[in-house]
C-alpha cells in the first residue's frame, strides 16, 4: 500500500461569475464562468511537503480550499488517505486528521475568545478529551509545543504580536492531532525575522509529529526552504511539478525560469538583469492554447492553439510543447 495522504486527480473548479439572472436575461448575455483550477493532478506522500507557488490569481488558494473540502471540485476527484474526500469529510474520525493554517493571523483568531478556548475548540468539537482538566493540560502542552507558555492561554489574541498569533493558529491546527495540514501563505503577513521563527517551527513539528503539508506561497525562496516537491501554477494549471531541488537547480518550464529570473535575491547585489515583459492575463478571458504563450519566448503556432498536456520528463511533469518537442 502506497502511503499517499492526499491525491488530486484531474481536478477542475469553476466559479459562476454571471451577472444576476434578470440583468442577464434583459441584455441577452450568456452565463459566464471562471475556471480557477483547470485539470490539476498531484499526490502528497506522508511526512512530506508539497508546495504550490504562483502569482496572484493562479488558483493556488482555491486548491488549498479544495484540499480540505471547503470547495467541491466541479469535475475530478480528491481522495484523502484512500477515501474520497467528501466521504472523509463526513466522518469525524477522518475529518480531524486534516486542518488548515491561514495567512492572516489577525483575522483568523476570534478576538473575543481566550487563547485557551481557541486552541481547545477542535478538541471539544471532536470530543477528543472529556474532562476539563485533560483539556487544560493538553492546551498547555500544545502551547509549549509552539513556543508559547501554558499561562498564555488566559490571554486574548490582541495581546500577542503577529508571529505569536501565528503560533496560536498552529497550536489550534495541531489540537485535533491531524496528519495533514494545509498552510495557505502562513508567513506572508509576517516580518522576515518572525517568518524564520515560524518556518523553523513548522519544520520541527513536521519532523517530530510526521506531519504532511500542502504549502501554498507566492514566495519562491520560502517555498524552496520548505518543500520536498513543488508545483508551479499559472492561470489555474500546474505547469511544472517535480522534486523541489530539481526545479530550482534545473528549471525547465519557461514560466518557472521567468519567475526565478525575476525574483530579487540577496546574492544579486549590484547585478542587473533584463526583466521579462507582460502580465498574468485575466482568468476570466484566458488565452487560447497554452495560457502562457503571450509571454513565452518559445511560443509558436501550436502553443497558440493547442493546450499542452502533462508529460513526464525524467522525474518532472511538465506541460509545455516546446520542451516536449525538444525545442528547449
Amino acid at each position: 500500500m502506497s502511503d499517499i495522504v492526499l491525491q488530486a486527480s484531474a481536478v477542475t473548479r469553476d466559479f459562476d461569475i454571471s451577472r444576476p439572472l434578470l440583468q442577464r436575461v434583459l441584455s441577452g448575455e450568456p452565463k459566464r464562468t471562471l475556471r480557477a483550477v483547470d485539470d490539476v493532478s498531484f499526490a502528497i506522500e506522508r511526512g512530506t511537503t508539497l508546495s504550490l507557488v504562483g502569482e496572484s490569481g493562479c488558483g493556488k488558494s482555491t486548491i488549498a480550499r479544495l484540499a480540505v473540502g471547503l470547495y467541491r471540485p466541479s469535475t475530478g476527484d480528491i481522495s484523502f488517505e484512500g477515501h474520497p474526500l467528501s466521504a472523509a469529510r463526513a466522518q469525524a474520525s477522518l475529518r480531524r486528521k486534516m486542518n488548515m493554517i491561514f495567512q492572516d493571523p489577525y483575522a483568523s483568531l476570534n478576538p473575543r475568545w481566550r487563547v485557551r478556548d481557541i486552541v481547545a475548540e477542535p478538541i471539544r468539537a471532536f470530543a477528543i478529551l472529556a474532562s476539563q482538566k485533560d483539556i487544560t493540560d493538553r492546551v498547555g502542552q500544545l502551547l509549549s509545543q509552539v513556543g508559547l507558555s501554558p499561562a498564555d492561554g488566559e490571554k486574548y489574541p490582541h495581546e500577542f504580536s503577529g508571529g505569536q498569533r501565528q503560533r496560536i493558529s498552529i497550536a489550534r491546527a495541531l489540537s485535533s492531532e491531524p496528519d495533514f495540514l494545509v498552510c495557505d501563505e502562513p508567513t506572508s503577513a509576517l516580518d522576515v525575522s518572525v517568518q524564520a521563527q515560524i518556518l523553523n517551527l513548522m519544520r520541527d513539528l513536521q519532523q517530530r509529529l510526521g506531519l504532511t503539508y500542502l504549502f501554498i506561497s507566492h514566495n519562491l525562496a520560502v517555498v524552496r526552504h520548505m518543500s520536498d516537491r513543488l508545483g508551479v501554477m499559472y492561470l489555474g494549471r500546474i505547469v511544472e511539478l517535480g522534486a523541489g531541488e530539481t526545479l530550482f537547480r534545473a528549471p525547465r518550464h519557461p514560466y518557472m525560469r521567468l519567475l526565478l529570473e525575476a525574483i530579487p535575491d540577496l546574492a544579486m547585489v549590484g547585478r542587473t538583469r533584463t526583466p521579462v515583459g507582460g502580465e498574468v492575463p485575466s482568468p476570466i478571458n484566458p488565452p487560447s492554447g497554452c495560457p502562457f504563450h503571450p509571454r513565452c519566448p518559445l511560443a509558436n503556432d501550436r502553443c497558440r492553439t493547442e493546450k499542452p498536456i502533462h508529460t513526464l520528463i525524467e522525474t518532472t511533469e511538465i506541460a509545455c510543447h516546446a520542451i516536449a518537442e525538444g525545442r528547449a
Partner: protein, 324 residues
C-alpha cells in the same frame, strides 16, 4: 554636496500615556543620483522617516528635533503653504498602493497635466504632449490612445507605472518611494524596479527607497540604512551591509531570509520581536534579542560607530576600536 541631509531627526507622538518617540536621532544623507535603501521590520520607523521628509506626518505626530535640509536649505521648518510647491517639484513620492494614489474620477492624462502645470510653466498642448511622452517612458503601450483612460481601466502593474510617471513628471530632484513594489506580483515587481532604476539614472534623480524586501534593496540601492526601533542600526554600501553586515541585528536579518541560491536545514532566527514604542529597553534597543550583549549594552545607547566600510550602532565596534 549631498542633496538631502537628515540630521538627528526626532519624531514624537504625544499620547495619553506620554510622549512616544517613533524616530530617535536619525541622520543620513543622499547624494544626487544616489539610491539609498531604507530597510527594517514593521514599526521600525522607515515610512515615518519618509513622511517627515516630505512634510506629510499625520498629526499628532511631529518633528521634535533635528534638521532636514534639501540643497542646504532647511525644509522641516517651512509652513505647509511653503512646503507645498517643494513637494512635487523638488521631492516626488511613490506610495505602496497604486489604487489609492490615483484619483479614480480623473483620467490619468488630466492628473499628469495638472501636476505638471502646477509646478512648470507649460501650455495645455505642451503639457499634454509631455504627459504622453512620460507614459511612453514608463512603458505604457499606445500612450496617445490611453491618456484619456481612467485608473480602473489599468492593471496593478500599469497603475504603478502611472504613479511613477506622476511622481517624476515635475522632474523632482529626489523621490521618496515607500514600498513601491510590495503590492505587485514578482514578475511585475522586476519590471517596475528596472524602470525606476533606468529613469532615475537617465534623469539623475536621487531616491530614498523604503521597503522591507531585502532582495529589492540588494538589487536597487547604492547604500542601505537598516532601521530598528526608530534608530539606524547600520548604514553603509549595499554590498557590505547585505553580504558582511557588522551589526548583530543586520546579521540576523540577512540570515533569516531564505535564499534562492542554496537550501539550509534551519533558518537563522532572531528570537522575540521588535519592542513596542511604549517599552523600548534601556541601553541598546536590540539588547533583549541580541546574542552578543555585554554589560555596556544594558545601560548605554550606542551611537553609529565606524565598523569597516559601514557604520554600525553597536558597542562591539567600540570594544574592537582602540580606546581613546
Amino acid at each position: 554636496m549631498p542633496l538631502l541631509e537628515v540630521e538627528n531627526l526626532i519624531v514624537e507622538f504625544p499620547t495619553r500615556r506620554g510622549l512616544l518617540r517613533a524616530i530617535d536621532e536619525v541622520s543620513f544623507t543622499i547624494d544626487p543620483g544616489e539610491v539609498l535603501g531604507v530597510v527594517g521590520e514593521s514599526g521600525a520607523g522607515k515610512s515615518l522617516t519618509g513622511a517627515a521628509i516630505i512634510g506629510l506626518l499625520e498629526p499628532p505626530g511631529r518633528i521634535a528635533g533635528g534638521q532636514i535640509r534639501l540643497n542646504g536649505a532647511r525644509i522641516d521648518t517651512l509652513s505647509p503653504e511653503r512646503m507645498r510647491p517643494i513637494r512635487g517639484r523638488q521631492i516626488g513620492a511613490i506610495f505602496q498602493d497604486p489604487l489609492t494614489t490615483l484619483n479614480p474620477l480623473y483620467s490619468i492624462g488630466r492628473q499628469l497635466v495638472e501636476t505638471m502645470q502646477t509646478h512648470l510653466p507649460l501650455s495645455d498642448r505642451d503639457a499634454r504632449e509631455r504627459a504622453i511622452q512620460w507614459l511612453e517612458d514608463v512603458g505604457i503601450p499606445a500612450a496617445r490612445h490611453r491618456i484619456g483612460a481612467f485608473p480602473h481601466e489599468f492593471s496593478g502593474g500599469m497603475r504603478q507605472r502611472v504613479v511613477i510617471a506622476l511622481a517624476l513628471c515635475a522632474e523632482p530632484r529626489l523621490i521618496i518611494a515607500d514600498e513601491p513594489t510590495t503590492a505587485l506580483d514578482v514578475s511585475i515587481q522586476a519590471q517596475i524596479i528596472a524602470l525606476l532604476k533606468r529613469i532615475t539614472r537617465e534623469h539623475g534623480t536621487a531616491v530614498m527607497l523604503v521597503t522591507h524586501d531585502m532582495g529589492v534593496i540588494a538589487e536597487t540601492a547604492d547604500r542601505v540604512a537598516v532601521m530598528y526601533a526608530g534608530r539606524i542600526a547600520e548604514i553603509g554600501p549595499v554590498r557590505d551591509v547585505v553580504l558582511t553586515p557588522a551589526h548583530p541585528y543586520s546579521e540576523g536579518l540577512m540570515g533569516s531570509i531564505p535564499s534562492l541560491e542554496h537550501r539550509v536545514d534551519r533558518l537563522r532566527q532572531i528570537d522575540g520581536a521588535m519592542p513596542r514604542l511604549t517599552a523600548i529597553p534601556q541601553g541598546c534597543a536590540f539588547n533583549p534579542r541580541c546574542p552578543k550583549t555585554f554589560a555596556r549594552c544594558m545601560t548605554e545607547r550606542p551611537a553609529l560607530l565606524p565598523a569597516g566600510p559601514t557604520r554600525s550602532a553597536c558597542w562591539l565596534h567600540a570594544e574592537a576600536a582602540p580606546h581613546v
